[in-house]
């Protein structure tokens, strides 16, 4: 690609003088200058190089579900600082800052709605909220999602993006791994499908619980997915990690996930899967 192509967006550009500031952005991968509205239409996937940028939990859910009636589950739950945790900052301050920055109460959003007419529940992690870390509210909202599925016989889809368990809620966070996994066992028992979509990055306690428990595990391209972080592994084994290590393509090759799906085809693919797995209820 020549430099001129890189700076010209694929869409017909308007005359520069008419364009207000802040409508352009850059792809972190190929550095192409992109028109924001076009990028939004592409669900934050670079139209030049297909790089999947991070997307907020709300945008994810909005673009995934059908337009129309939606109900948020566990919206009233707010994090509490039970341990009065303080490192360089108080946990309370970290919560307040994250809430202000994201406009979310915590790092997971659960919404009941429809996918191409099929009633479903979707949960999505918000990475901008303390690295999408899992603590009590995340666990509770995930369980609310499962409970709604059990009550209405609907499938569950969860989009993960998380650094793992949240240290500031200490053992409560660890226990959310057991809690969410136990709830998923009920889904299996009742024959309701759970599709886990692993997006960049899905690590630690989230990967070692709900995210790896999908009846079908789907990943977005090139997402970092694993238990231990690459730096921790490098320190342990004292050698450079192979290229592509812990990326979606690596996990697919090792048999940990079922498929890699482009975000723009996610609705079609997941609907296709559910139309078979959930056929009895259709």
């Amino acid at each position: 690609m020549s430099w001129i192509e890189k700076i010209l967006p694929r869409t017909k550009s308007e005359q520069k003088s008419n364009v207000p500031e802040g409508v352009w952005t850059k792809c972190d991968e190929c550095n192409a200058v992109l028109y924001k509205i076009e990028l939004e239409k592409q669900l934050e996937v670079c139209p030049k190089c297909d790089h999947h940028m991070r997307i907020s939990a709300r945008s994810r859910i909005n673009s995934f579900l059908d337009q129309g009636e939606r109900t948020e589950l566990g919206a009233d739950l707010e994090p509490r600082d039970v341990l009065k945790f303080k490192d360089s900052k108080r946990y309370k301050e970290r919560i307040a800052a994250a809430q202000k920055a994201t406009n979310e109460k915590d790092a997971l959003v659960s919404v009941k709605g429809k996918l191409k007419g099929m009633p479903v529940v979707v949960s999505a992690f918000e990475f901008s909220f303390m690295g999408g870390s899992m603590a009590s509210v995340v666990g509770a909202r995930f369980v609310k999602a499962v409970e709604s599925c059990l009550e209405h016989n609907t499938p569950l889809i969860c989009f993960s993006t998380s650094g793992g368990a949240r240290m500031q809620e200490a053992l409560f966070s660890l226990m959310q791994m057991a809690k969410t996994s136990a709830a998923l066992a009920k889904m299996s028992e009742k024959g309701l499908p759970f599709i886990s979509v692993l997006t960049d990055p899905t690590m630690g306690g989230v990967s070692a619980s709900l995210a790896m428990l999908g009846d079908v595990n789907v990943a977005e391209p090139k997402a970092l997915i694993g238990f231990a972080g690459p730096r921790v592994i490098e320190q342990t084994v004292r050698e450079k990690l192979p290229p592509g290590f812990q990326r979606s393509e690596f996990l697919l090759e090792k048999g940990a996930i079922d498929m890699i799906v482009d975000r723009r085809e996610m609705r079609d693919k997941i609907h296709s899967l559910l139309s078979k797995l959930h056929h009895k209820h259709n």
Binding site: F85, D87, A178, G226, F227
Partner: protein, 318 residues
């Protein structure tokens, strides 16, 4: 400095050395009643000092106790609590991970399934046991034994003692996350009673993967945490040396965790800690396990599973 005593135990080490010296004298030469009296006095003093030191242990000191080089490990409990243990090996797919051991045994005549992390005492055994850090095949061996226990109606008794699941290339390639996650899901619905006890380090997901049960206990000086104090300190304080602060902030001790309602019972340790009296520790733990097992076997299968599920759902927000 005695390497078998932690820094805060050193004053006790000094007294113990003196006692030993006097004892030698009295054995070698003629028996001297005044030396015997002196020994008795010193013993009392040592015991008083131990009580005093252990009454004021902080979270970091307890973290060190949990990793004490002389602390009893799973096999030490198995030989003292159970009889006729038959160790079973392998995950039937890849390898036998020696950081997790397990197999059936008798608990005073009742057949049970034992699963536990195993650390090594000397260097070669430490390496063989991978410092008690399991790989996916370890968790899958544990899973195989748990499913076997369900099949043959054996209650499951687990012993938790790991710094964490092993962070390595092979472990990632073979699905460390999935191995842990799957155990969590299966343990939630196993149709036999499960009693879990943290005997040393309860290191994060690597501990939890054999730690979902109907009763979860911690020994008095064991720890249980979402991340090691060093790991937490290096992320939040940007320095692993702040581990004592992290241990305190996370509340890793049995007392703190019991107050939060995340475990059922704290098992008392003998004076000076489990490592000072392996037999005494095993006897305390055996009594707790037997009592809990008696309670659990009274429940119907449905009651057992409902109570386990309710217990899990009670963590955090309901």
């Amino acid at each position: 400095m005695n390497v078998n005593f932690l820094e805060f135990e050193q004053p006790i080490a000094g007294l113990e050395a003196k006692i030993e010296e006097l004892r030698q004298v009295n054995q070698g030469g003629e028996f001297d009643i005044s030396i015997e009296e002196e020994i008795t006095k010193l013993r009392e003093k040592s015991s008083e000092l131990t009580k005093k030191i252990f009454a004021e242990l902080g979270a970091w000191q307890i973290s060190q106790m949990a990793r004490h080089p002389l602390r009893p490990y799973t096999l030490d409990y198995i030989s003292r609590i159970f009889t006729d243990f038959d160790e079973l090996a392998g995950d039937r797919a890849f390898a036998d991970d020696k950081a997790i051991i397990g197999g059936p045994a008798f608990l005073d005549g009742q057949a049970v399934m034992i699963i536990g992390h195993q650390k090594g005492r000397d260097t070669s055994e430490k390496i063989k046991r991978n410092f008690g850090m399991p790989k996916p095949e370890g968790y899958r061996k544990a899973l195989r034994l748990m499913e076997m226990a369900e099949r043959f109606k054996l209650p499951i008794i687990t012993f938790i003692d790991t710094p964490g699941a092993y962070p390595g290339v092979g472990a990632e390639e073979r699905g460390q996350s999935e191995a842990i996650a799957y155990n969590l899901k299966v343990m939630a619905e196993l149709k036999v009673p499960i009693i879990c006890t943290v005997i040393g380090e309860g290191g994060s997901g690597g501990a939890l993967a054999i730690g979902v049960g109907d009763r979860v206990n911690m020994l008095q000086y064991s720890t249980y945490s979402v991340i090691s104090p060093e790991g937490c300190a290096s992320i939040l304080w940007k320095s692993a040396e702040k581990a004592p602060l992290a241990a305190e902030a996370m509340g890793v001790t049995a007392k703190q965790i019991k107050e939060l309602g995340l475990i059922n019972t704290i098992v008392d340790e003998p004076l000076g800690g489990a490592h000072r009296d392996h037999d005494g520790m095993a006897a305390n733990l055996k009594a707790v396990i037997k009592q809990q097992l008696a309670q659990l076997t009274k429940l119907s299968q449905q009651e057992l599973l409902d109570q386990r599920y309710e217990r899990l759902m009670s963590f955090g927000y309901c």
